[in-house]
């Protein structure tokens, strides 16, 4: 039976002969014997593909929260959006999947053009002229945005809305330990960021649109605040929202980042996802990561190539705009395909369908007692903060028995306490999301079940 190694015994021998070696062991003569592993790796023996597939199928059975078997009302940064067969089929073509970073443009026009189209689409969605070829995910894209903002403004004072997804805040905090940025977290008031206390010069102001409780922030006044404080305006924006709402760029955001998972990538237990990054022309030389530009070949034919490479780590090394090398190109390619599939109209329709579904559910929860709206007056997008009588995490468990992934307990994202929610409600907030895939029938039944269970 085979592994994936092509060498026959004869060839092995002839190759070693060619090298004047008596054994494969001698290939490692440069490795001092003192540090060599004297034993075999303590790992189970290899098994055949069907054995391993069987094992993974067994493991998969213990993942009950599957979107094809539970009706998914969970969001919180990861969404059960439509993922049509055509996009899966195209994005999984092996030419895209098994290529490296397009270092040799002559044989990489496929990936390069797909990225160029992706950049164009993301730039339009965020209302800014520049997009890169992707970053790891929304959270790390925000880290890069903060770094760019600090570099651009020259101030390390970074003001972060508590409405930014808790995980993203945590990631920004982790990396600030290295960069030394001074983070200030600004609390929410009635579900929206209360920037009123911010005064003095700032380097960066970060707001989420919508914030993680679903609330839509007033970006115009964030822009005003940035102007007043000299801060770079960074918006962590849900790109789906641009299907119905004004783009962050149209409010004057300097940098917009977000999570692109909803465009062609499965829920995937959180990764690989797709970090989106767009900015103004002014910041293009601080852009983290790769960017593809259009040019021509020797015969004048249109061609694409990665450009402005001198920002990147392989050239600029310790002075690079970022350390990123591998990014999430395949997801970017999938997103360009998915956005091509949605098109102008579908992109708008999908956003509207999310908004309608969310409204439909929120209307149902207005009359309940077990599950009620945390901020009934808020304009929200695709996320709803629901207040449950029972602890939210318990509600999630009990709803699972009824076939629902009911949402995410805010406490699961935040830990024991959080600047965005009062301590006494934290344990009783359930984040619920309604995408275009949820039918009225599903929402009706869900609302009833939730009201019963949350009691």
């Amino acid at each position: 039976m085979a592994d994936y190694l092509p060498h026959t015994d004869d060839e092995l021998r002839s190759m070693l002969d060619f090298l004047g070696l008596a054994s494969t062991e001698e290939l490692f003569n440069a490795v001092p014997s003192a540090i060599r592993l004297a034993r075999g790796l303590d790992l189970p023996n290899g098994l055949s593909e069907p054995d391993i597939l069987h094992r993974f199928e067994q493991r998969a059975k213990r993942n009950t929260a599957r979107s094809d078997q539970m009706v998914c009302f969970a969001g919180g940064g990861a969404y059960d959006h439509e993922l049509p067969p055509v996009v899966k089929a195209l994005a999984s073509r092996s030419e895209f999947v098994t290529a490296y970073t397009p270092y040799q443009p002559e044989v990489a026009q496929g990936v390069l053009q797909a990225i160029f189209e992706f950049q164009t689409m993301i730039a339009r969605i965020y209302g800014l002229p520049v997009s890169n070829a992707s970053l790891y995910d929304g959270a790390t894209a925000l880290v890069e945005a903060v770094n760019l903002g600090v570099a651009s403004s020259g101030s390390q004072r970074v003001v972060l809305s508590a409405g930014v997804h808790p995980h993203w805040r945590q990631v920004v905090t982790t990396f600030a330990a290295g960069t030394g940025h001074e983070l200030e977290i600004v609390p929410l008031k009635d579900g929206l960021t209360d920037f009123s206390a911010i005064q003095g010069t700032c380097g960066v102001i970060v707001v989420a649109q919508p914030n993680y409780l679903g609330g839509l922030e007033d970006l115009a006044s964030v822009r005003a605040l940035c102007d007043a404080t000299g801060a770079i305006m960074v918006v962590a924006a849900d790109p789906v929202a641009s299907g119905v709402l004004k783009t962050p760029g149209s409010f004057g955001a300097d940098v917009v980042v977000g999570e692109g998972q909803g465009f062609g990538t499965a829920l995937s237990f959180g990764g690989p996802y797709l970090g989106l990054f767009a900015c103004t022309m002014k910041e293009i030389r601080r852009l983290p990561g790769r960017i593809v530009g259009e040019t021509v070949d020797v015969e004048g034919r249109r061609a694409y190539v990665t450009t402005l490479r001198t920002r990147e780590q392989d050239i600029r090394r310790e002075k690079a705009s970022s350390n990123i090398c591998s990014n999430q190109t395949l997801m970017a390619v999938a997103a360009s395909i998915q956005l091509g599939w949605l098109g102008t109209e579908g992109f708008a329709e999908m956003a509207l369908a999310c908004a309608r579904g969310t409204r439909y559910l929120s209307d149902k929860l207005r009359t309940g007692t077990g599950a009620t709206l945390l901020h009934p007056e808020l304009n929200v997008f695709r996320e709803l903060a629901v207040r449950t009588v029972k602890p939210a995490s318990q509600v999630v468990e009990e709803m699972a028995a009824r076939g629902y992934l009911a949402g995410i307990a805010a406490s699961a994202l935040n830990g024991a306490s959080d600047p965005s929610l009062a301590d006494e409600v934290l344990g009783h907030v359930l984040l619920v999301s309604v995408t275009e895939r949820r039918t009225a029938e599903e929402i009706d039944a869900f609302a009833i079940a939730l009201e019963e269970v949350a009691q």
Binding site: L47, P129, T173, L245, R356
Partner: protein
């Protein structure tokens, strides 16, 4: 060499189908009113946007994307795919990138609805299969690297590096120890110094010695208690094993510094020698290199970071943990530096890696490394008659040639040779890396290429060289058989067209 039968690669790797014209962008294919999308029939009331939102928030016009039919979308993307070389089409000896063949079983695992369809915010009780996968993978990675525990969160190698540096920082800080410098050899990959900066450290570069390895004396001279640690890859980017690694480790540890292992080259040593046994404290792995996640045209990858016992408590969290036999939960390490990813890392890449490890087993992984090193040495030896090997001695999984002489004598650059090789139907090797080698061509054949392919590849190098010596014009004109000819990179940077809308 005896004559070998034809290779599964080479010129035939992808024949032209029809024509050589550019594929229009999707925006040019767009026609107002056309569409491809289909959404579920929900039965939810058709409220207008105005009924749902404050009017000040509403978009005044839809975001213009493309308007194409599904049919045209399919044709467009399929045609793009035919303009793209890939491992599945032929050999891709791109040094430092480990472009091995990735078994399709990994794709099968990563598309199982029971893995791919799971929401990352679902509680541990409903995702035990995923947590088991994480824990099993973590253990395997620790065994391969000789470390105590690992975080699976970093999304790629560079993210792993930065995570590792933050771990160093947290460790030193916990010891009340303020250090400012990280040592990096000049042969290091660019992500290393870039990560150092982001980690809040300063880079101290040390030159390589005549062997292409860390100059032990220079290193020792650079060491003091301001040094937080060193970042090394071993084998290094020249494909050479740092034989003095034990001494290096001792020297670092002597001044209280830590050793960081850039695992991009782990493919060379699995089951042979382990970073932990070399004295490293922190190791990142590029699962997309060693553990067979296809590179996706630039990503995604995954860069788990494994650490020695004294660093375990600092790992990012929460970590999937076996809390009782067969029962898993998320546990945050006591002194965790915090999250480094929005969720749990590139989970599907992690699942692929585990499938790869389990299908190979311990012996199989060692065999992978043996064959990777064997292939690299074979091609080194095969080419050494006509090419200058930088630091000519047995290599590990890759080998670096220097075309400095060719450049000097004939004005032919490494890039020209690379372009000419592509005409022979292979991907080019890496050019101009590592930076310390003049006109570098870096070849990493990987273990999945057969002897026949290696021979065909060597012939392609020879053909290119032959042209360089006897038919320069052909080399400068190369590649002529690809969808586009040589691309004007300077123009791309000069008159920037970064989106379709930026066109003149």
């Amino acid at each position: 060499m005896t004559t070998l039968s034809p290779a599964a690669g080479g010129k035939a790797s992808s024949a032209p189908l029809m024509g050589r014209d550019a594929e229009p962008t999707i925006f040019e294919l767009s026609q107002p009113g056309r569409s491809a999308y289909q959404l579920r029939t929900t039965g939810v009331p058709s409220w207008t946007a105005e009924e749902l939102f404050d009017s000040a928030m509403l978009a005044d016009h839809p975001v213009p994307l493309a308007e194409v039919s599904e049919r045209d979308l399919v044709a467009h993307v399929t045609r793009l795919s035919h303009r793209q070389f890939s491992v599945d089409l032929g050999a891709y000896p791109l040094g430092s990138c480990t472009m091995k063949y990735n078994p399709k079983i990994c794709d099968a695992v990563a598309t199982m609805p029971g893995f791919a369809g799971v929401h990352p915010g679902a509680p541990a009780s409903m995702t035990q299969g995923w947590l088991e996968t994480f824990v099993t993978l973590e253990r395997a990675l620790c065994e391969v690297t000789g470390m105590a525990a690992a975080t699976l969160q970093p999304a790629a190698g560079a993210a792993g590096e930065l995570t590792g540096l933050l771990l160093m920082r947290a460790y030193h800080e916990a010891n009340g120890d303020v250090r400012r410098r990280i040592i990096i050899p000049d042969s290091a990959h660019g992500t290393n110094p870039a990560s150092v900066t982001l980690g809040g450290y300063e880079v101290t570069t040390i030159a390589s010695d005549a062997r292409g390895c860390v100059d032990l004396e220079a290193l020792k001279a650079a060491l003091d208690t301001d040094v937080a640690g060193i970042m090394l890859t071993n084998p290094n980017t020249l494909g050479l094993f740092e034989e003095d690694i034990a001494e290096i480790a001792a020297a670092l540890h002597n001044v209280g510094g830590l050793l960081y292992y850039d695992g991009a080259n782990l493919n060379a040593i699995m089951g042979v020698v382990r970073p932990g046994d070399m004295g490293f404290d922190i190791v990142h792995m590029n699962l997309h290199k060693t553990f067979a996640t296809p590179h996706g045209g630039g990503g995604p990858g995954a860069g788990p970071v494994a650490v020695s016992p004294r660093l375990v408590d600092f790992l990012p969290g929460p970590r999937a943990t076996e809390v009782a036999p067969g029962v898993y939960d998320w546990v945050k390490p006591s002194k965790s530096i915090g999250r480094v990813h929005g969720w749990h890392g590139n989970a599907l890449v992690l699942a692929r890696a585990l499938a790869y490890i389990e299908v190979h087993g311990g012996d199989g992984l060692r065999r992978v490394s043996e064959r990777a090193v064997l292939n690299a040495n074979w091609i080194r030896q095969r080419l050494s008659a006509k090419f200058d090997v930088a630091f000519d001695r047995p290599c590990m999984h890759e080998v670096v040639l220097s075309l400095a002489k060719l450049r000097k004598d004939h004005g032919v650059k490494a890039l020209d040779i690379a372009k000419r090789i592509m005409e022979e139907g292979f991907h080019a090797p890496t050019v101009y890396f590592p930076l310390i080698v003049d006109e570098a061509l870096m070849i990493e054949p990987t273990e999945t290429e057969s002897l026949q392919t290696l021979e065909a590849l060597a012939k392609a190098f020879e053909v290119a060289l032959d042209d360089a010596l006897n038919n320069e014009a052909a080399v400068f004109a190369a590649p002529r058989t690809t969808p586009v000819g040589r691309v004007d990179e300077a123009r791309a940077a000069r008159s920037l067209v970064q989106t379709f809308d930026a066109r003149g």
